[in-house]
Symmetry: C2
Subunit: 255 residues, 2 copies
Amino acid sequence: MTTPVLRIAREQRDAVEDQVVVEYPLTVIVNGQQMATMLCSPAKLEYLAVGFLAAEGLVSTKDDIERVRFDEEKSAVEIDITGNPALSTGYDFGRFITATSAKGAVVHSFADGMNQARVESEITFAPSHFFTLMEDFQSRSAIFKVTGGVHSAALADSEHIILFSEDIGRHNAVDKVFGECLLENIPAQDRILLISGRVSSEILFKIARRKVPIIVSRSAPTNLAIRAANYLGITLIGFVRGQRMNVYANDWRIE
Amino acid sequence: MTTPVLRIAREQRDAVEDQVVVEYPLTVIVNGQQMATMLCSPAKLEYLAVGFLAAEGLVSTKDDIERVRFDEEKSAVEIDITGNPALSTGYDFGRFITATSAKGAVVHSFADGMNQARVESEITFAPSHFFTLMEDFQSRSAIFKVTGGVHSAALADSEHIILFSEDIGRHNAVDKVFGECLLENIPAQDRILLISGRVSSEILFKIARRKVPIIVSRSAPTNLAIRAANYLGITLIGFVRGQRMNVYANDWRIE
C-alpha cells in the first residue's frame, strides 16, 4: 500500500506517495477457541497459522488437521484439529503474540529446546551450492526491495529453492515455510533452511523440530544458537555474502 | 565472546576465532513471583527489567519501585514494587518472552494501544538536527560493528543523545532506555527516541505511554505504525540516511 510522505533531502521538500510495509493483525482460532493474535504480513495466512500451530506442538502432520479456513471478515484463520492432549490439558489460549516473536510458547526454556532428538541427516554440499542459493534467495526478496524491513525464509534442496516466504516477523517467515510443508506434504528432512536475519536459539529449536539439518543466513548467529546447533546436530552457516561464508557448527556437512 | 569458525572464501578455508553476539536468558522476578524469562544482551539488566515492567503497565514512576537487584547466580532481576492492582487481579505470570518481542502483553489489541492520551508536546526541530543525531547514533553502535545483528535505541534532546542502549531484541533496546529514564529520573517528555530497526505499531504504543513526541529510525515504518502515530500525535520519521529523511506523520514538528 502507499502512504503520503514528506520527503526531505537537504533543502528540498516534496510531498509524495510512498510504498509502506503492511502490518496485519491475524487471529488464529483452533477448534472454535481463540488462540492468539499475531501481527504479520497478509499473505499465505493459512500456512502461517498452521506453521504456528506446528511450532507450538499442537499439530505435527497434515493428518492432525481437519480443516483450515481464512475468514477475511474476522481477519482470522480457523483451524479444526483432531484430538490433541495439549488442548484438553490447558494450553494457554488468548496470549497476544507479536509480529517479531510469534513464539512465546514454543520453547519455554533453553533446556526444553535442547531436549529434542538430534538431526541425523548425512547430506553434504559444496560451498558453491550455498553461494548460489543465497544469491537466488536475495533476488527473491520482493517486499524488502520496495519497502525495507521485511524478513524472508526459504526451503531448498540439492538443486534449488522449493519454497519462499516473506513476513514482517522473522519467526512468521519461518512458520509460513513449515506450514506450507505440512499442508502440501513437502518434506523438510535432508533440506536446507535459508533465513535473512539473525539466527537465534529459538530458530534452531524450531528447525530441529522439523528435522532440517542445515540452516543458512546472511546474518549473524548468537552464542546460544551455536551451542544449540552443535548439540542438536545442525550445520549452522552465517554471513553468506558473495563467495564467502562462516560455518559455526557441524562443518562436516560442507564438502 | 568468541567462537571457533570455519571461514570459507572461494577455495580458501581457515579455522579462526570470531566474535559472536551473546544471547542471555534473563528472568524477571516481581515481589518474589517469576514473571517472565526473556532473551537479551547482558548489559543494563536492571534497566531492561524496569523498562519491561513499565511497558507492561506495572510501574510508571520510580516511586512504584522499592528495590531492584540483579542476582547473577539466578540470572534474574528481582524487583519489589509497591501495591499494584494488576498484580492482585491476575496478571499473566510465567509467559516466556522472546528476545525479539519481549512484548506479548503490552498491547493486547490495536484498539487498546490506540486508546491512550495524545502526546501534546509542541517542540519543533530543523531537519539538520535529526541528520546530526542519526550520525552520532550510528557511530555509537559498537556491538553491531563487531558482531552484526543488534538493535539500538537512544533518547535525545534539542542538543544531543542522552541515553543509548543496544540489545539483540528490538523491544529490549527501547525498554532499556525507558527503564533508565525511570530509575534515574530522566524525563522523556519533549524528547526524541531514535531506533535502528523497523517502526511497528507496538513501538508507537510504547513511546506514547512515555509521552515521547518524536520517533526517528533509519529503517521503515509499517502502515499501522503510521496510523498510530497520526492518531496519537507523534511525529514519525523514517529512512534517515545522510541528508535525507521521510516524515510519515505530524510533520508540523519539522521546522
